[in-house]
Structure formats: structure tokens, C-alpha cells
């Protein structure tokens, strides 16, 4: 840890948060400062703890699904998808193809929505007011598709164990296609606003550098890990659903700074559009629900760990069954919680104003950190 240089250890402890607009929720960071420079930090979490894992033990398998939406509330679809897939793996249920492609389309739309929200708020933190209006406008299109599909915009509860509850609405394909056609042009506009903007480059380049070795040692996943130049994506490494059948690239960064992570996320949105287009091609009429009984009772003593690539990183569910209708234990590996552990490493030696940039670049959602 760095030592204070100014007037011999004249350290100042500053509490940033829990009520601070740039911490994206109720995160409290205790900063040890030497003037404007950060010597070290300590995160205090738990302000949004709701005991989701304990709730799971008192609910049936199907009843717990809506609660997973409330962990990472800006990416509810992927959260629900991870849980449903874990239970399906536990039961050994095969999904019908239509359900698989639909899930992939919605999950990729959710990834775009999550990245759009991140881009807008991150730019807002760094003083760029304009992008947030544009990203929310595009996100609105996605949320309208969700609302038309499953009747809710944010906490969607879109999937059921074994497939889907609702079949696609009539204009779904047209809506998604229109969105896919529009989005790349819109991303170009964000790039015009930010990528070569000198203020944006000054605020992000070389800020919060995370070396690949450190990133792996800290268990960081998702765009933060890929921004450091490690090519790791659960969709490629351990394909789930039908990701093995679609072609897409995994963008990586070179320097591991905030700017690279920004570029990685923008590229990911473009790749998601590519995936959605391929999924739409393969979408055919058919059943949407696999063979699952009314009462879900996995065999006693079975356990499963299943992870998916959420918008923020590897989202894992560890489900243990004791043969009853309630799970014996559900342990959730949230990406935000583990990515947050890299904060101290990235923050050291930076200025206080850059702390805002670094917290933003990790893309944490406190609902998921505290669960």
C-alpha cells in the first residue's frame, strides 16, 4: 500500500457514500487520502441486503424465479435465465429449440439494455450530459419489447423453468429487426460523442488500470476482465443454450484502463446485435415448454452449478436439492460482487475525481452485490 508523502502521513479518511450519486446505489467507500491522491480504500457493503439466498430456501423452485429479477435489476432477464437453466440442469430437462432461441434473443437484448444504461450513467458521472438521453431512448425500445413480450419492463419474470410462459407476440420479429437495424447507427453516434472526445479521453485513458494477472487473481469477469486483455467469455468457454451454434467475436482491450473497458462494452453491443440477427434466422414455430411437471421436485442429494455470461460477468447459480419442493440451498455468484473486489487495486494512486470514473467503469449494481 502506498505511503503518505505530504507532511508525513497526514492522512485523511473520507467516506464516499452510501448516499453519493456516483456510487450507483448504496455503496460506501472509505478512502484514505493524501491530499487529492487515494492511498487505499475499503468498501462497506450490505446496505441493500435482502437475504435472497435465504428466501430461496423457503420458496418452491418456481416461486423463487421472480426474486432473481430483483438482484441485478437492470438485467433481470439474464438473471432469471441463469436460475431457470440451473434448475433445468438439475432436472435434466431439454429445452425446445424455439424456447432456446427466444431466450437468447431476449438475453442479448438485455445485455444491450444493461450496457446502454451503463454507458449513459458512466458518461453522466464524468460530466457528459448528452449521451444519457440518447442511451435511455434506445433502452426504452428494448423495454417496450420486453413489455409487449412478458408484460413487465424491469423485473420481467420472462422465463419459466423448462421454457417460456408466453409465446412471442405477433410483431416481435419486426420490432427486434427494426431495433437491430437502428442500433449500430446509434452506437456510431455515441462514438462520435465520446470516443474521440478529448475530455472523455483525458478522463478515462490510463485511469484505473487493471493488469491481466491481477484481474484473474481477483476473480474478475465480464467486460472488466476482457478490458484487461483476457479473452474469457462463458458463452465461448462453456457454451450454454445454443451459443455454440452462433458466430460472434469476444472483444478485448489492450491497456486495461477505463477507456478500454468502454470500447469493449461498445463492441459487445455490436456483437449482441450480430447474435440476435442469427437467432432470428433460426427461430421457427414449435413448442415453447419442455417436459416439466406441475410440481418441480429434483431428486434428493443432487446439486448443480451453472453459470452464464451476464452483462456484467459470470453469473453463477449453485442449487442443492434435498428432494422436497424447496431448494435446500441456492448460492449465487454475482458478477458485480466479485468485480467490486478489484476496486481497491484500481483506485490506488488515483485522484479522488477518478474514483467516480473507476466505480462507474466496473458497472456494479448494488442489488446484486448485497443480494
Amino acid at each position: 500500500m502506498a505511503e503518505a508523502t505530504f507532511l508525513d502521513a497526514n492522512e485523511l479518511v473520507l467516506n464516499m457514500g452510501p448516499q453519493h450519486p456516483a456510487t450507483h446505489g448504496v455503496l460506501r467507500v472509505k478512502l484514505r487520502l493524501d491530499g487529492e491522491r487515494v492511498l487505499g480504500s475499503e468498501c462497506v457493503i450490505g446496505y441493500l441486503h435482502r437475504g435472497v439466498e435465504k428466501i430461496a430456501e423457503n420458496r418452491t423452485y418456481a416461486q423463487f424465479a421472480p426474486y432473481t429479477d430483483r438482484m441485478d435489476y437492470v438485467a433481470a432477464v439474464t438473471n432469471g435465465m441463469g436460475y431457470c437453466e440451473a434448475v433445468e440442469k438439475l432436472l435434466g430437462v431439454e429445452l425446445p429449440p424455439r424456447a432456446q432461441w427466444t431466450r437468447m434473443i431476449l438475453a442479448e437484448l438485455q445485455r444491450i439494455a444493461s450496457h446502454l444504461l451503463w454507458l449513459g450513467t458512466h458518461a453522466l458521472d464524468l460530466g457528459a450530459m448528452t449521451p444519457v438521453f440518447y442511451t435511455f431512448r434506445e433502452r426504452e425500445e428494448i423495454l417496450n419489447i420486453f413489455e409487449n413480450y412478458c408484460g413487465a419492463r424491469l423485473t420481467t419474470h420472462a422465463f419459466r423453468i423448462g421454457g417460456l410462459q408466453y409465446d412471442l407476440y405477433d410483431e416481435f420479429e419486426a420490432d427486434v429487426r427494426k431495433f437491430c437495424d437502428d442500433l449500430p447507427g446509434k452506437i456510431d453516434e455515441y462514438e462520435q460523442l465520446l470516443t474521440t472526445n478529448r475530455i472523455w479521453m483525458e478522463r478515462t485513458q490510463g485511469v484505473g488500470v487493471l493488469k491481466p494477472d491481477d484481474a484473474i487473481a481477483l476473480g474478475v469477469t465480464g467486460p472488466v476482465l476482457r478490458g484487461s486483455g483476457v479473452q474469457w467469455d462463458v458463452r465461448k468457454a462453456q457454451p450454454y443454450e445454443a451459443y455454440a451454434q452462433v458466430a460472434f467475436d469476444v472483444p478485448i482491450g489492450r491497456h486495461g484502463d477505463t477507456y478500454d473497458r468502454y470500447l469493449v462494452r461498445l463492441q459487445e453491443m455490436r456483437q449482441s446485435v450480430r447474435i440476435i440477427r442469427q437467432c432470428l434466422e433460426r427461430l421457427e414455430p414449435g413448442p415453447i415448454l419442455g417436459k416439466v411437471g406441475k410440481i418441480i421436485k429434483p431428486p434428493a442429494g443432487t446439486e448443480v452449478y451453472h453459470s452464464i455470461e451476464g452483462p456484467k460477468g459470470e453469473l453463477g447459480y449453485f442449487v442443492v436439492s434435498d428432494g422436497t419442493v424447496n431448494p435446500y440451498r441456492v448460492r449465487i455468484r454475482p458478477p458485480s460482487f466479485l468485480n467490486l473486489q478489484a476496486l481497491d487495486k484500481m483506485i490506488q494512486g488515483q485522484l479522488v475525481a477518478d474514483v467516480v470514473a473507476i466505480i462507474g467503469t466496473i458497472d456494479i449494481v448494488l442489488g446484486e452485490v448485497d443480494r
Binding site: R59, A62, Q63, F64, A65, P66, Y67, R70, T130, Y134, R137, E140, N144, E147, N148, Y149, C150, G151, A152, T155, H157, Q165, Y166, Y169, E189, Q192, L193, L194, T196, N197, R198
Partner: protein, 150 residues
Amino acid sequence: MKERLRKIFLVDLLRGLRVTFSYQRPSATYTEQYPLERPPVAERYRGAPRLNNHPVTGETLCIACNLCALACPENLIVVGWQRTADRKKKLTTFTYDLSRCMFCGLCEDACPVDALELTQDFEIARYSREGLIWDRKQLEEGPAPTRYTR
């Protein structure tokens, strides 16, 4: 040299401003004038619950099977019934605690006769917690959204 010229002539700034000004025209407005204009919600929207009556006879469709209460993750539905003379179940009371509802739609899915339904009404704020506990009468009538006038 090229880089320097870009800096001197503020090319990046102007490119950004071009994007901003291209959305200044009134047809690019995206704002909704709520509550003067209510947004149309989707057909499948999950909002305030309603207990449906038969459109012709006016009798309740609910068969008091209690499946919604069992499906609810928050245990907020209480179904009361009585046995009639021919041993059939007859619905007496139905309580729905909206303050705990998370609009997951599991009760609606569980209902075998489409009696319980989450409707498109989304204005369900109340001034007290008690106001959010709806009894059978309120559920059958549905909410009465306030019409704001100038």
C-alpha cells in the same frame, strides 16, 4: 500534423455537436406528457389485479380452488369459501394484499378458469398501507384511475 490540425479546429467537438443538433428538430422528441397523456401499456401488462365475473350472469368465475394462494411466492392471497348444500365450494371472501405483490404473474398463470387476472391498470398508489389490501368487492370492480384535468 493531422492530429494537431484536428485539435486546432476542434474537429471532435464539432462532430459531437453535429449529433446533438441533429436531434433538435421537434419530430425527434421522445417525451411523454404524463399524466395528461397516458401511455398505452402492452396487452400482456401485469398491473392491478381483478377478479373476473361472468359477463352475462354476473356471477364470479372463481371456483375457490386456492391454487393462486398456493402459487403466490409472498402468500398474499387469502381465499375464503363455504361448502354449499351439494358439497360444492362457493367463494365467500377474497383478499389480495397489493402492498406485498411483486406482479410476477404466477397467480394468474395458476388460475384454471381465468378468474384472477392482472390488468393493464398501473395507477395503484394509495395514501395508506391499508388501502392496498383489496377485498373481493374492490377486486371485482377494479381500480378507478384518477382523471386529471386542468
